[in-house]
């Protein structure tokens, strides 16, 4: 009965019916017609030029789909057809996530101006390529390969615009890495370090600490090395040192000195473990400064001396200068001015050797101020003059003005004693001297011949 029921709707009644046999031919005709025919002009826009009019080109269904549908559509269908449904749902979810965040941001925001993910064909192709490979590997249970593919994706998207994609794939690679047991956690460690970096860039220090600590823990006592031959453990230590330093900075901002010192000592230990003298020195310097700011000059001195030794060993003149200066500061606040001056002079000496004009200028200013406060104006003047000379080459107007003022003040102080003695004695000679000075405004009091 069912078959017999068809004839009521006979063919004249309906448009031409296409059966499976001539189905593909029908599509061809449609494609062909698309060129001369206005009616199907919508489809013809993307159609490839035909190779020859005498020969009917053969189109498969996929060829037609390429012209008819969006690239995203084709990629999705292609993945599904081959059974990569997880890749499909991941890609789909990512596109939806992007669209949702765009909607949430609203028109006018930065993301609104960006090109949608589904229209960036090369990115979609990359996603398809790596996702399907990862899924195939996952099915076969080869998690290392899954991990490699995910990391490649993350690296591919490692630019400012696609940061979120990169983060997403680093996260999933961490998950994959936790499933890899054969290599003793090397991949997991790498994934943790990647995640740590991601969170660092985002500024979420607590989470970054977690990941770096896991990284450090996993690499402890292992001899894994990267391409450059550096051990993973040392990378972990360096990362932790950086994070702890940043954390300590934050604590110092919030005036939590005790916590900050604890964290900064941790950073120092990490730096020591990393085996990099430069970092170790820097860490020691930071510890010293932290103790200094909390008022414990003695402990600060030990760390600063450590920094000094390390800098000396490394031949790092800039570092050495910094160490001398910090030590001088510490000594000064302890009241040991003589020793402080000694270190400052060393500082000047070191800085002169290197072409660190700024630190040299600072040193000179420091010395000048100290000598001034001790009443040795001529020495103060000498250092200020040096500082002034240096700043003249620096093209830094505010600094130049500052040194000018200091130099002027110091010179004035230097003249002060002679000037006032002249004023007090009020003899004729003295008055003449004063008048002569007033005319010339030159420092003639200190000239012994005139007195």
């Amino acid at each position: 009965m069912s078959t017999a029921s068809l004839p009521r709707i006979n063919t004249s009644f309906f448009p031409k019916i296409i059966t499976a046999e001539n189905h593909s031919r029908f599509h061809q005709q449609r494609q062909n017609g698309g060129h001369g025919n206005v009616e199907s002009g919508k489809q013809s826009g993307k159609a490839q030029p035909l190779k020859g009019n005498d020969k009917q080109p053969r189109f498969t269904k996929q060829d037609i789909a390429v012209y008819r549908n969006s690239h995203k559509h084709n990629i999705c269908v292609d993945m599904l057809r081959k059974g990569y449904h997880k890749s499909f749902s991941e890609l789909f979810a990512l596109i939806q996530k992007w669209n949702a965040s765009r909607e949430a941001a609203g028109p006018g925001s930065a993301i609104w101006q960006q090109e949608p993910l589904e229209e960036q064909l090369d990115k979609l192709d990359q996603l398809q390529h790596f996702l399907t490979r990862a899924e195939a590997a996952q099915r076969a249970g080869r998690y290392e390969e899954v991990y490699t593919n995910q990391v490649s994706l993350a690296r591919y998207f490692d630019n400012s615009e696609d940061k979120w994609l990169s983060d997403h794939f680093f996260e999933s690679s961490l998950h994959t890495a936790s499933l890899i047991k054969i290599d003793g956690g090397k991949k997991e460690a790498e994934a943790h370090s990647n995640m740590g970096k991601v969170y660092m860039e985002k500024g979420q220090l607590e989470k970054a600490t977690e990941h770096y600590e896991a990284f450090h823990h996993l690499t402890l006592g292992r001899a894994w090395k990267d391409e450059a031959g550096r051990t993973h453990n040392s990378w972990a230590c360096e990362g932790l040192w950086r994070i702890y330093t940043l954390l300590a900075d934050k604590m110092l901002e919030n005036k939590e000195h005790k916590q900050a010192i604890k964290t900064i000592i941790k950073a120092f230990e990490m730096a020591k473990e990393a085996g990099d003298k430069k970092i170790e020195g820097k860490a020691a310097y930071r510890v010293g400064l932290a103790y200094q700011s909390s008022g414990d000059q003695q402990t600060a001195m030990t760390y600063l001396n450590m920094y000094m030794e390390l800098s000396k060993a490394l031949g790092d003149k800039d570092g050495l200068g910094k160490a001398y200066k910090a030590i001088a500061n510490a000594l000064e606040s302890e009241g040991k001015v003589a020793e402080s001056v000694e270190y400052l002079e060393k500082f000047v000496e070191v800085s002169q050797g290197s072409d660190q004009s700024r630190s040299l200028e600072e040193a000179c200013m420091c010395l000048g101020v100290i000598f001034n406060s001790r009443g040795q104006y001529d020495k103060g003047c000498e250092y200020f003059a040096k500082a002034y000379e240096i700043t003249r080459n620096l093209r830094d107007l505010p600094l130049l003005q500052k040194t000018q003022v200091y130099l002027g003040a110091a010179k004035a102080r230097k003249m002060m004693t002679a000037f006032s003695s002249h004023m007090e004695t009020t003899g004729l000679v003295n008055t003449e001297e004063l008048l002569a000075w007033k005319d010339s405004r030159n420092d003639m009091f200190s000239d012994p011949s005139t007195v």
């Binding site: 009521r8 019916i17 269908v77 449904h85």
Partner: protein, 356 residues
Amino acid sequence: MSEITPLANPRGVKRLCELCQRPARLQCSHCRVTYYCDSDHQGADWVGIHEKVCQLLIPLRTAVPFHTLEVEREHHRAQTLQRQEQLIELSRATAQKKLFEGKHQEAVPAALLSLRCCVEIHGTSALQLVPSYLLLAEACTGLGNLTQAEEYLCRAEWTVLKNTECGRRLRHTLHRSLGLLHAAKGDLEGALEHLASDVYYASEEFGSDHIVTSGGYFHMANVFFRQNKMDIADSLYTEVTAIWHRHLSSLLEAHQRSASAPADPPLEHSLSEAQQAEAQQVLGAILDIREQAPRPDPTQTARAAHSLALLHFLGTNTPKVVEFGRKALRCSQLVPDCGLTEPIERLLQLAESRSA
């Protein structure tokens, strides 16, 4: 039932069989507007749809009464249209129901009636015809008449191609039917292609982890299973089970939350009849496959059985709940931390409290 003689028809009036369009010899004595070639067709139509629509057909098929006023004619036209639309809806629902019950033969008359009505309203190339084509194709596939099914589907596909503004929902159903047809014909690659499009459109419309989409995954898994690509099929079956499991669990949770209120909403309405039938079919098939797998995976078996138990709980079939629940519990206890044991035990308790 009254007999008529074709020769005695008024001039220019052809009375054709409702089902096969041959000259009619019988007339339905209730409505007197429906004709049949023999009593077989009359009986088939009666069981299929005519019983429900007999009286509804009278106003549509009698001659238009004479109206003097334009307003009256307008009113009559509008009324006819409304009646026709009602008729389409009713006949489609009937056909769908018969298909779910597996009565493919009985679904044909209803589907045909809906198609005919659609043509009367919308013409021959409108999108509105596609659902009827799909119903007919499904019925034909069910009857094993693949050529006929293919013909209907080709018409549907052509209609969709012609109408570029066709919605995604319609495309998704069309591609699923086409995929199933190709699978039935043994053209597995073609089936995969259509099913992939089906999943794509369904995901666009509902989201990639919706139960509607899971139907596409399930059929794809079957095709991969037939292609002997067990790993892909397995991963797809897992996905389907996960989708249903999530959906059913959330339904149960929602029910329990609202159950504290005195006005207990009927649990049976949380899933439509069609969805229940689909879930039962899909999950049952997956459970069978899981149980017969050479290397049984207790977690997946437990999840499938748990989903079935949940489904029967929503359908208030308590003995089945207990049966599947026990099965799920047995499997879940084989895996130390699959996280399923506790919800299954809770479900069994609920079922016991209900039967008590």
